[in-house]
């Protein structure tokens, strides 16, 4: 979470207009979902990963670790699709080629789709994405809430970490039963402090004229038609190449 957030705020494309990143990513995601997966998904996966690493400057390690979790789940699922259990004559496990094909398709398609999302979360801070939502007409109250929660998550994460360290320093995690107890205490304590924090934050905001609305300046992005055009061209080319490949193979 910390690493993702760090790169989202500091990557090479940080200052680009969210649309320049969002439109191609969503375009590729759509292609992945509607075109035949065996030709489209590998193209999308490779294209997005190379763009993320060599374009936006995200390290391979971070990108792969973001993709690793869903990939593990997908891998674990393959056997269930590729192997069928037959109860007609007692009990038999049979390998089904169609099942395997389906499993492979599902896996590569899901992975390609994940890579599009990974690109977005690694190159665009949550706050930019949310502002994009605002321009799409999501009510201001919901946007304010999301942004406030985003900010508070980090405040509480810090508290939780120092609290845990303080407990560990007094051997609160030296045995399983103590760990359970310590975690419970920490949780209860954090909840109380969250309420206290909310009360004081409200005072801090009132001191600056808060009357129930959290209005702030939105960043002034400049949409680069050039970059947008390149992105859209990339998506179109991927779509064309994949259709062409599909015709050749099938």
């Amino acid at each position: 979470m910390r690493a993702i957030d760090h790169h989202a705020w500091t990557n090479r494309w940080r200052d680009w207009h969210p649309v320049e990143k969002g439109l191609p990513a969503i375009g590729l995601l759509t292609l992945t979902l509607i075109l035949p997966p065996l030709t489209t998904a590998p193209l999308v996966l490779a294209g997005v990963m190379l763009t993320t690493v060599y374009g936006a400057g995200i390290p391979w390690k971070t990108l792969l670790s973001v993709l690793a979790a869903p990939a593990t789940f997908l891998l674990a699922g393959i056997p269930f699709l590729a192997i069928s259990i037959d109860f007609t004559s007692g009990f038999a496990l049979t390998f089904s080629p169609e099942g395997f094909q389906l499993a492979l398709q599902t896996m590569i398609r899901a992975l390609a789709a994940m890579s599009c999302l990974a690109f977005l979360i690694l190159t665009m801070p949550l706050t930019d994405g949310v502002l994009l939502l605002r321009r799409m007409g999501v009510p201001a109250g919901i946007i304010e809430l999301i942004l406030l929660i985003y900010r508070l998550i980090f405040v509480f994460a810090e508290r939780a970490l120092t609290g845990r360290q303080a407990q560990a320093g007094r051997l609160g995690y030296s045995r399983l039963d103590r760990s359970v107890r310590s975690l419970g205490l920490l949780g209860g304590n954090l909840f109380q402090r969250a309420l206290e924090q909310a009360r004081r934050l409200e005072m801090g905001l009132m001191a600056r004229g808060y009357t129930g609305e959290l209005r702030v300046l939105t960043p002034r992005w400049k949409l680069s038609w050039m970059r947008l055009a390149v992105g859209v061209a990339g998506v179109s080319l991927t779509g064309l190449a994949s259709s062409w490949l599909a015709r050749g193979l099938l």
Partner: protein, 280 residues
């Protein structure tokens, strides 16, 4: 005597739990001066500051802004809070937006300024605290000292006449303190009236024009810094120590007064060198 900019009379405040944090105190905030509210931990400093811009409503007593008793209706409060800017001790209690410039823009937008004007105010406030380079940083990636400066900028962007700071140097390293005091000194020279709370007698001695010695919910005495801090009996009652520089000056037989202050370590070193040269 002139009417002070902000005057507090017979202020009493009892927390809902029954703790009497302020017990009938008087305070004067004079135009263009630096006032330290000096008291030990738990003496009620934070509670007092929350009254100075109407965040707490006193149980008893009166607050006057330029001679006019304040009122607590919505419009009066807004005007009051625009004129008296309060900076809380913990910057995380004040910063809520994702980026620095967004957070600083909150106050100006609440004043009803246009986006362009608000943007200008943000730039001006960040520049005053010398943190323009942090404008597009994510709030949660800042160091404590940087957060503290952003919190001050957020209030400064509303151009208050009085800047009230709760323990401004708490938690900062010595470099952070120097940086912060430098920026505040500049604001003061530009005409801002400063009020800050502290438990640090050295800080109050080095930096304040006036000191209000605070103990257990009352101001024991308020007056010019040297006069207050060389009053041993007063300091003893407030459970505070005499500042080191003043003790040294006394031991060396140096006359210290408001007119001839002896306030910095540089002044001390110069004096010691003179004395040593005289003996040698």
């Amino acid at each position: 005597m002139n009417e002070p900019l902000l005057a507090v009379r017979d202020l009493e405040y009892v927390y809902p739990g029954g703790v009497a944090a302020l017990r009938g105190l008087d305070l004067r905030i004079e135009q263009g001066r630096k006032l330290a509210i000096l008291g030990s931990n738990g003496s009620g400093k934070t509670t007092l500051l929350l009254h100075l811009n109407g965040l707490c409503k006193p149980t008893r007593g009166e607050i006057r802004l330029e001679g006019q008793p304040v009122s607590y209706d919505h419009r009066a409060l807004n005007d009051w809070r625009r004129r008296v800017g309060l900076i809380l001790q913990e910057p995380d209690d004040q910063l809520f937006a994702a980026t620095v410039s967004q957070d600083v823009s909150f106050g100006p937008l609440n004043l009803g300024l246009s986006n362009a004007d608000a943007r200008e105010r943000v730039r001006e406030a960040l520049e005053a605290l010398r943190i323009l380079h942090l404008a597009d940083r994510a709030t949660h990636t800042l160091s404590f000292g940087q957060k503290k400066r952003v919190a001050i900028a957020g209030v400064l962007a509303m151009r208050p006449e009085i800047l009230v700071l709760d323990e401004p140097t708490a938690g900062l390293d010595s470099h952070g303190v120097t940086h912060l005091l430098g920026a505040l000194e500049q604001l003061h020279e530009a005409g801002a009236t400063l009020v800050f709370s502290t438990h640090d007698v050295e800080l109050a001695y080095a930096w304040a024009d006036d000191v209000a010695v605070f103990h257990d919910g009352v101001v024991l005495r308020q007056g010019e810094t040297v006069a207050m801090l060389s009053d041993r009996e007063l300091l003893r009652r407030a459970r505070l120590r005499c500042p080191l520089l003043l003790e040294v000056a006394e031991a060396l037989g140096v006359e210290v007064s408001a007119a001839s202050p002896f306030r910095s370590r540089e002044a001390l070193l110069v004096l010691l060198q003179e004395r040593c040269a005289g003996q040698g």
